[in-house]
Subunit: 352 residues, 4 copies
């Protein structure tokens, strides 16, 4: 349909062929409702195995904002808020879904220059300590949870050391640690990454494995490593409008994604291409906003360069840097085609 090159985002395509083909085969299926079916059970077991966490509870929801709002509301008490980077998805692009549930997002500035999108463990520790020492803290929102995304909204990664540190700070201060993994496949596949699913299950109280941006049509898988950490989560999902009648639709997609390492594979493809493109940007002597370890690349362009590149390729506007320069995002995904990458590399080479 669209014949222009498209590197604008990682959710413009339907789903991995293996998922589409499995879906096409469901004409004769008859399944009980609300995720109480054997396909979901199979998918859950594969995820438990991948996380090396046999007791984990796994739930499937339909999207990231829904997931974040439902999980955060279910863990926090009414008087608690959630700490997040000011660039965190829940702080910026969820239309107040967390506040709709009654909770404040307690923002800490990200490190725009050194680690865009990331929450410094030291900053979290300081925040919690300042709150504890404030004589008026009974009049303030109590931090009850830390929210991070892996990779972040800027495609950056927390290291295992940082995750360990965050986990220690959280658990020493009775905070829950929750990780938004909307693009987790692209973290897991990054050569720069040293945080495994098993690490997440060991260090977090809840995290989700993104499907929508990682090869599925839609759907996200919540992992709660310690069973009953969130009592009655099923009812909470229902109350939040997050319980799909034909829950097996979600189970089926994750069952495919967690068969034969497909989830890591979809990430690996995207990362390989991203790495080639990032190299081409450097060769073309176009400045990177920062060096990206995952599938989202950020390049600084002047107006003429932007106009030229956008005439050839769909990419995303990210930020106005100053009067004459913008940051643009180039995203690869599980669906990026070899030939499209070649074309983009050529275009970039021509911009030198």
């Amino acid at each position: 349909m669209d014949t222009k090159l498209n590197f604008s985002s990682d959710y413009t395509r339907a789903a991995h062929p293996a998922i589409l083909s499995r879906l096409a085969d469901t004409a004769e299926l008859s399944m009980p409702g609300y995720g109480t079916d054997p396909i979901c059970e199979s998918a859950k077991n594969k995820i438990r195995a991948a996380c090396n966490c046999p007791d984990a509870e796994v739930f499937f929801l339909t999207g990231g904002t829904q997931m974040n709002a439902t999980v955060i509301d279910s863990i926090l008490r009414s008087y608690q808020g959630v700490i997040a980077a000011d660039t965190g998805h829940i702080s910026t692009h969820e239309a107040g879904a967390i506040e709709f549930g009654g909770h404040k997002v307690l923002t800490i500035p990200h490190s725009a220059h050194t680690a865009p999108g990331k929450l410094h463990p030291a900053d979290v520790a300081r925040y919690v300590e300042t709150y504890a020492n404030d004589a008026n803290h009974d009049h303030m929102v109590m931090p009850g949870m830390v929210y991070i995304s892996q990779p972040t909204e800027y495609g950056t990664l927390y290291t295992l050391d940082e995750l360990n540190e965050l986990s220690n700070i959280c658990h020493a201060n009775a905070l829950s640690l929750y990780v938004d993994g909307a693009r987790l496949a692209y973290a897991l596949a990054s050569p720069a990454n040293d945080v495994s699913l098993e690490d997440l299950a060991r260090l977090c109280d809840a995290f989700y494995i993104g499907g929508t941006k990682c090869g599925a049509l839609f759907g996200e898988a919540l992992v709660i490593p310690r069973p009953n950490y969130i009592p009655h989560f099923f009812t909470i999902m229902k109350q939040h409008g997050a319980l799909l009648a034909k829950g097996w639709l979600l189970g089926l997609q994750f069952d495919v994604l967690f068969t034969d390492g497909l989830y890591e594979n979809v990430g690996r493809t995207a990362l390989g291409y991203a790495s080639e493109i990032q190299a081409a940007i450097k060769s073309a002597e176009l400045p990177l906003y920062f060096e990206s370890p995952t599938n989202q690349l950020f390049v600084v362009l002047n107006n003429r360069q932007r106009e030229y590149l956008e005439s050839k390729v769909d990419i995303s506007f990210w930020e106005q840097l100053d009067e004459s320069r913008v940051v643009m995002r180039i995203a690869t995904s599980w669906s990026t085609a070899r030939e499209d990458v070649y074309k983009l590399l050529e275009i970039l080479a021509g911009m030198k």
Copy 2:
């Protein structure tokens, strides 16, 4: 997979073959996000045409509870509640989703014997009048909307006269009228029905056309006949976690359902079989709980009869009538197979 006869509900099967096949063809699709795509636009236009309401706004959400919670919260002001039958889905089986949004469900008893599941227009009028005349009404929840379902949770139907009357009462009293059409296909196809999509668009402020139980994998289509009746509904959807990233998935399904009259067809099949089964129940001299005009049939069985029937067919427990008798529900759907109906008719004949 399941070889026992299954008449337990209308959402145990995947989707109409036309939808599965269209989905299987999406491998090469590239679409913008959040329902801003041409497939959604096409589906919306077909729905507008079917409703004879060219200016209607149409939005696609993923499920019924999500739809009800989002629409009701978006229309009501903070101090208003929604009038519903005490058997209404929002009163009973949505885990408090309406109250989560801050609104009381103001229940009126349904007419268990004469019109199960239905709200009498006269009862609504009396409720509103009593509220208006109560000297303390400023200390009470103000009714701001009437919620009905068509067909109701019992499969019964509002007549056009009743809908007219409800619409008049609502609009004379500054109430919105909202219709939950989770199973609307089965109403539209019923010989007993005289309410068209066009009537709904003319008489209601919002209503939804159910997909999940009517041939789709998932999805419901909200119709707002008068544009801008709910300002910023897109953002409200986002805030409620009800905005699907790949919104075209929903548009695609409704595009198929509203092509060549498929939506009415899926209802017609189910209704034809339901009628045959209801006749067979009567022939078998098994008492009906009441005569049903749609795809859900309610039969009264003693314990021995129940045990026998359940050994042959999956059906749903509905209600304990007294010590020795229960009401059981038999549901047909768009996916009911001719041969399964034959088998059920035989079983019923043997129960005489």
Copy 3:
């Protein structure tokens, strides 16, 4: 100012003279804010002593609806609702304050004829059992608390046996038991009453001792018998706008009310007069709606009688019984004057 006899309600007058005089003496007072002062501490200790519950936590709030909304929201989890009589104050006259906090009020019909305003323990047990046995209960609001008022909105009383039974049912089913004591002084002073403050502290998880209708200018005292039953209640009060800057204002009033048995005394005066008036109603052969054990009396009048009585005395309309008869409420209070009672008795005698 108003020279007509006034038996319309128990909150038309300012406060007991002992409170007014103590307030007039505060010109030189300097107190820390938010209830952290020695006057509040003194009042709390007197209440703890009166309840024979030395470890109880006590908090002062400004009104009944605020109290109910804050306490119920603080105890319930997001997916839970509160069981109440359909005549309960939270069900009818709090403008949806409980739903504003996200919780459903799960109503059970009161026994209009045998015990108006009361929740039968057996009905609560049946409700909880029905919920537990319902195969769909994960899609329903989970009952998390029972709310009763003592005396009820009709002035009736729970017996100690009933309270014991409710407490047992609640605690066997993981429900909290909360008692709204807006008019508690009138219960404690009733000859028909066998439930003491000590019983309430032993059997409930939280209850409040009403001030506004029982001799104070304003204010209600929450008693939480087991410390830390509601963690961070101070912050929850703040979040609900229920934390008074000069909290000592409330402490001072309860300090007076719980000195030298004043709280019981204010009830006793009202009850004595109520009993005389109720006797006069019977002598006048005016039908009682039911025999009341506390300070609210309910008399059935025809239109002529109503007109006559209202020309002489301010009383409250309660209910339209049928075309020609109404139920009217006559209320005494801590402030009822001897001479006003005489006048009313004469008027009633003249109606024979």
Copy 4:
């Protein structure tokens, strides 16, 4: 009771003698409930006159957080948030009361160095423009209101020009303008102030006149200049637990405060003393954090100076400036005594 000098805050004392004496005279009063009484009506009329706004609606609530939460929730639509300085009371010290109502506080940094506590009109304009131009703004919280406090939490003042500018920006962008006047008396009495009650009524959509910190025992008066700007505010108050049964208690206090210019007088006393103390701080060569135009003074002390001053006077810790220096707040009020000021001036003189 407390014999140490106390300049710690402006709400440690009871109320102006004129209020205490009027309260002591209420023993024989009989008033209808919920603010529907003639005393409230009288107070409202005096406030309307003082604002030169005869059509204004006036409501009395019991405290500032309650007021802010109730007003903000009543004006905003569910998908809207409120813009405030990051130092605004609603951003910091209301325990998430705004978020409890479902709304995000959209913070803009105050100008710590040039105008502490204040929101720059230009910053508000930029925020609104950035929102409007953001291609993703439908996924973001829509700003629906601007909240400022006059004086601010730092005691600084908006000029009439600034208020005009804010009002223009708001109304050009469909935002409401709401002013928190918890300490309004101290603004009105400041020689530096050029914003009158009449200006507030002309330029704002809602503002409140603080009582608790300005001579009353408790209570705040909301002014809504254009009638019906907030429909059903009475019911909204009830829903928020903000409706006092004996509303006349609040009316009475404002009736006194708005008789014979008392409200301005209480401010004037405090401001005169504050000015003397600020001069003494300068004479003592103690650095001011900034020059304050109202009753809150901010002085920078090293640890030794702090220890010394706190041994003589109760003052408030405000901020840790660096390792060795703190900012401390000295507050005067309507109740500050001449002789206490003399003693403080002497102490300060001795610190040179």
